[in-house]
Symmetry: C2
Subunit: 224 residues, 2 copies
DNA sequence: GTTGACGGAAATGTTAGCAATCATGTAAGC
DNA sequence: GCTTACATGATTGCTAACATTTCCGTCAAC
């Protein structure tokens, strides 16, 4: 995940640990059910157990790991039902975020970041590197979640993570689906920039639902 | 501080610290903006800085405290706009939770806890002790959030807390409003028990919106 | 009088080490 | 042969101490 992040120095140890572990989980290098043993991670990351422990608690709040008292942390095992539930929730949360973003644009004008995002999406060609596309997708969703003013929406979103995210995206995102996704993004951004909150919310909900239904069509046995 | 909690022993120190601090914040004994100094809390609670630190991080995820790097934790300062945003979000989240609960009842029958909750609500008289009413209200919302099956809804709700909750309730909940609230609860529970997910969601959203509008009518200067 | 730098105190970030708890494998008993 | 009791190892929970950063008051200089 921090392929292009800052050099490890300059950030706090706990944050480094959190990003590193989070990246490993979302890239499926740490698979569901895998135990995350504190001393082991500490040795791997070259720091003490304190920051690792803190990072694991943080990831637990985000839903990426599950912690049991006196038993330690395990990478969360997301059943099909849980994936559905998370996306049911994301549809509401991201829909509301888009609505709030549009409202804010209507009231205070459009921040440059949204215009830039729209240009990026329109210019993007679906044949790019999938990893780049995945990163850009995440950044866009974060941007819209933050564009509404408060940070309740963004915070809520970060608590709705799923493990193996990137692997799942590789499975469902054919070039055709990337094109559809791009069109969704453009529609959402246009509605937000136009300040049309109803259309913005609807567009975002449609987009999230599309992703959810792609995930739902994954073959049996993909989820534990 | 932990008025009717379990005897402090038997639970982990970090959890004790979290409940104690959380209770103090929601009861306005720690007011918005107040610094929460780790060594001080540790001394107060009779334990080391480790568990206190962990508790503060947890409360930060719940929105009750705000942590800045190298600066420490302060009780969150919820502006009027932030309260509105949180309740906008809660309306969606709790509405979905009620819908999921109703769906589950329709599929698998009604758990006894819901029937008991309905009996309790119907039997409750609005003249009870306000603290009891507040606690019962929280328990009911938690129950419905948990009744949908997965725990994504419940987890999401716990991340949408506000400081000074009890004080605000004391301000807005006149006997008349408690009666209305009770009627809302009964309506939600009846819809859930009947397995009518549309009505359940609508009833819950109406209920949350009522609370939000009561909070919105608080006099100027109530929020920072 | 105001601004700036400097120094000390306090709080946070981090590490290392000890105590308590849980899992595992082994051996004894039925 | 299967179950149960037990001992050992490993891991988590917690505390205490160290390092680093920030904040605040003081003092000098302009």
């Amino acid at each position: 995940m921090e392929s292009k992040e800052q050099p490890p120095e300059g950030r706090a140890a706990a944050e480094r640990a959190a990003s590193a572990i989070s990246a490993a989980i979302r890239d499926s290098r740490f698979g569901p059910g895998q135990r995350l043993v504190e001393p082991e991670l500490a040795r791997l990351l070259g720091l003490g157990r304190g920051p690792v422990r803190e990072a694991l608690r943080l990831l637990s709040a985000q839903g990426l790991v599950t912690i049991e008292r006196n038993k330690g942390a395990v990478v969360s095992r997301a059943s099909r039902a849980m994936v559905a539930e998370v996306f049911e929730m994301r549809e509401l949360v991201e829909g509301l975020a888009a609505r709030r973003a549009a409202r804010r644009v209507a009231e205070r004008g459009c921040p440059a970041a949204l215009l830039a995002a729209l240009r990026d999406e329109e210019a993007r060609c679906a044949e790019s590197d999938p990893l780049t596309l995945i990163d850009a997708n995440e950044r866009l969703h974060q941007l819209i979640a933050s564009a509404g003013g408060g940070d309740v929406a963004r915070r809520t979103l970060t608590h709705l993570q799923l493990p193996e995210l990137r692997t799942r995206f590789f499975q469902i995102m054919s070039p055709r689906n990337w094109r559809l996704s791009r069109e969704d993004h453009v529609a959402v951004l246009r509605a937000v920039i136009a300040g049309d909150h109803d259309r913005a919310e609807q567009a975002m909900r449609t987009h999230v639902r599309r992703t959810a239904s792609l995930l739902a069509e994954l073959p049996e046995g993909t989820f534990p």
